[in-house]
């Protein structure tokens, strides 16, 4: 490693466009997007369907290629970062392999990348402990609830101790109660691992509760309309948050700020600005 950790931002996106299709059927999914995610920072992308938030995450993950612009992950090109396993990824569908046990699913990336059996075993035990599923190592995914499956997926994403987690609506399919519990878990896990996170969501409270910064996007063409720094609204950094943060004044202020950006109504920004000054 030429650059020490923490020097390079986890993600830097400069002037990125993504255009699908050609001619009259052309859809501009992303237009001139700039975004930087610092090492260890938790950033959420929020916006209505079609605003390109998932597309942006897929570009960072190198699951899709930008039409123009520059994307870097820890200073490297995204393809190199993907091949170097610099990020872990989780999707809305847990995407567990149904014929593998929970432990078999968690160790999959390690096995694919040639980790020794002893190393895999130790790491799987550690990860299952982290997500609280040690008792289910030998279960199959279809024996688990949706929330538990998603926790397995998160453990799998963390398997290779990435410094960056990419999460595409991982709690989108869960009920509200499970969802809040998973959010609390995620805050704890992020604090323990210190990884930076790019988190795509539809839910304003979820974005505000989890993030250091919330990036608000709007559709047609997909672009960033504003960034809310939740810490500026009086919440502690994402890693130090507890579930009580949901009842704090700063939380509601940030929620109002994100909402006004989403709906394009300037009203509540007064309060937010007042605090910044």
């Amino acid at each position: 490693m030429s650059t020490p950790a923490g020097m390079e931002p986890a993600i830097s996106v400069t002037g990125v466009d993504r255009v699908f299709g050609k001619g009259r059927k052309q859809v501009v999914a992303l237009q001139d997007v700039d975004l930087t995610v610092a090492d260890g920072e938790f950033v959420s992308l929020i916006g209505p369907s079609g605003c390109g938030k998932s597309t942006l995450l897929r570009l960072v993950a190198d699951l899709d290629t930008a039409t123009s612009g520059d994307l870097r992950v820890f200073g490297k090109g995204v393809r190199q970062a993907r091949l170097d396993q610099d990020y872990g990824i989780a999707f809305q569908q847990a995407g567990l392999l149904p014929w593998r046990t929970v432990a078999g699913n968690v160790e999959l990336p390690l096995r694919l990348h040639g980790a020794s059996a002893a190393m895999r075993k130790a790491r799987v035990a550690e990860l299952l402990d982290l997500v609280g599923l040690s008792d289910f190592a030998k279960s199959h995914p279809d024996q688990l609830s949706g929330g538990m499956q998603q926790r397995v997926a998160i453990a799998r994403a963390l398997a290779e101790s990435p410094r960056l987690l990419l999460m595409d609506e991982p709690f989108g399919a869960l009920d509200e109660i499970t969802r809040e519990r998973m959010q609390n878990e995620l805050v704890r896990i992020c604090a323990e691992t210190g990884a930076a996170v790019l988190f795509v969501t539809h839910s304003i409270p979820e974005a505000v509760f989890l993030s250091d910064r919330v990036v608000v996007m709007s559709p047609r063409p997909g672009r960033i309309t504003g960034i809310v720094d939740v810490r500026a609204d009086g919440l502690v950094g994402a890693h130090d948050r507890t579930e009580r943060a949901r009842d704090e004044e700063g939380f509601f202020r940030a929620v109002a700020e994100v909402r006004s950006l989403l709906h394009g109504t300037p009203m509540p920004t007064l309060a937010a600005e007042g605090l910044e000054k």
Partner: protein, 293 residues
């Protein structure tokens, strides 16, 4: 134990099913009119004469009698058993070739879209050609092939024709199975940076098992039919195909005799399907929720 009871019940129901067929046969033979049931000119139920419908027990009994009146003729049972094993062997060879070819085609088609567009219509078209038509072709082309010391035999022709039927369900089923993983799984494999071959072994092959097993069973049934029919078309002696023809000649004097090779064909069909069932047991872990129910 519930699973045990279920298994016993399945066996009992299976036996009852066979008994019901046998009973229907003999009861109809006993009470049905000798000329059968006619609607206008059309006979909707068969004649019940000894010639058309031998008693079920006569058909069974026939197995223990010599094939012909000639001295030293073997029991029909032994003859049918030999012929069945011969045909089953050819069907198995055909099945194996068909599975290999079908899988290879499916892999090619799933790998490259353009290959799928080019091949799939031909794969489907291939099954519209009647077996009778391709049998002479296979024999003629085969006779021009000579690999090492191996000379093309009629057995090879039969196996190839059986394979011609067997490869189709495998190609179509495996193609569908190989394309079955959802987007999340494919994205995950890409994120892991593993190539086509690794993701084939880790993801595509296991998730194609639920599609593959029914295809393999269908292929087994097709291979048996293909082998029996091809024996007739090619004129290969020793198997059930020729036996059906030979024994049919005896129908007027020995009505139970033609049924013997038919039962043989039924039994090898069951054996073939059973073998795939065993394969299914081995692959059981991969059947887990692979297909959205």
């Amino acid at each position: 134990m519930v699973p045990l009871w279920n298994r016993v019940r399945a066996v009992v129901l299976g036996l009852l099913g066979i008994a019901a067929v046998v009973a229907t046969w003999d009861v109809y033979k006993a009470v049905g009119p000798a000329e059968g049931v006619l609607v206008g000119e059309t006979r909707v139920l068969p004649r019940t004469t000894e010639l058309a419908m031998p008693h079920s027990w006569e058909m069974l009994q026939r197995f223990s009698e010599p094939v012909t009146g000639l001295a030293g003729a073997p029991d029909a049972f032994d003859a049918v058993l030999d012929a069945s094993l011969f045909s089953l062997g050819l069907a198995a060879r055909g099945w194996l070739i068909g599975v290999v070819v079908g899988l290879a085609l499916a892999l090619l088609m799933s790998r490259l879209r353009i290959v799928e567009s080019a091949l799939l219509p031909w794969v489907i078209l291939s099954q519209t050609v009647p077996l009778i038509a391709i049998a002479p072709l296979v024999r003629r082309w085969g006779s021009e092939i000579q690999i090492g010391g191996h000379v093309w035999s009629s057995e090879d022709s039969v196996a190839v024709i059986a394979a011609y039927l067997a490869f189709f369900p495998v190609a179509v089923g495996a193609l569908r199975g190989l394309k079955s993983p959802d987007r999340t799984h494919l994205d995950l494999m890409r994120a892991y940076g593993v190539g086509w071959w690794r993701s084939l072994l880790t993801l595509r092959l296991p998730s194609s098992v639920p599609y593959l097993l029914p295809a393999l069973r269908l292929a087994a049934a097709s291979a048996v039919i293909g082998a029996v029919v091809a024996e007739v078309s090619i004129g290969l002696k020793g198997g059930l195909g020729r036996m059906v023809i030979d024994y049919a000649v005896a129908a007027s004097g020995d009505p139970a005799k033609p049924w013997a090779p038919i039962f043989g064909a039924v039994v090898i069909g069951l054996v073939a399907a059973g073998a795939i069932g065993l394969l299914g047991l081995v692959l059981r872990p991969f059947r887990l929720t692979g297909v959205p129910s």
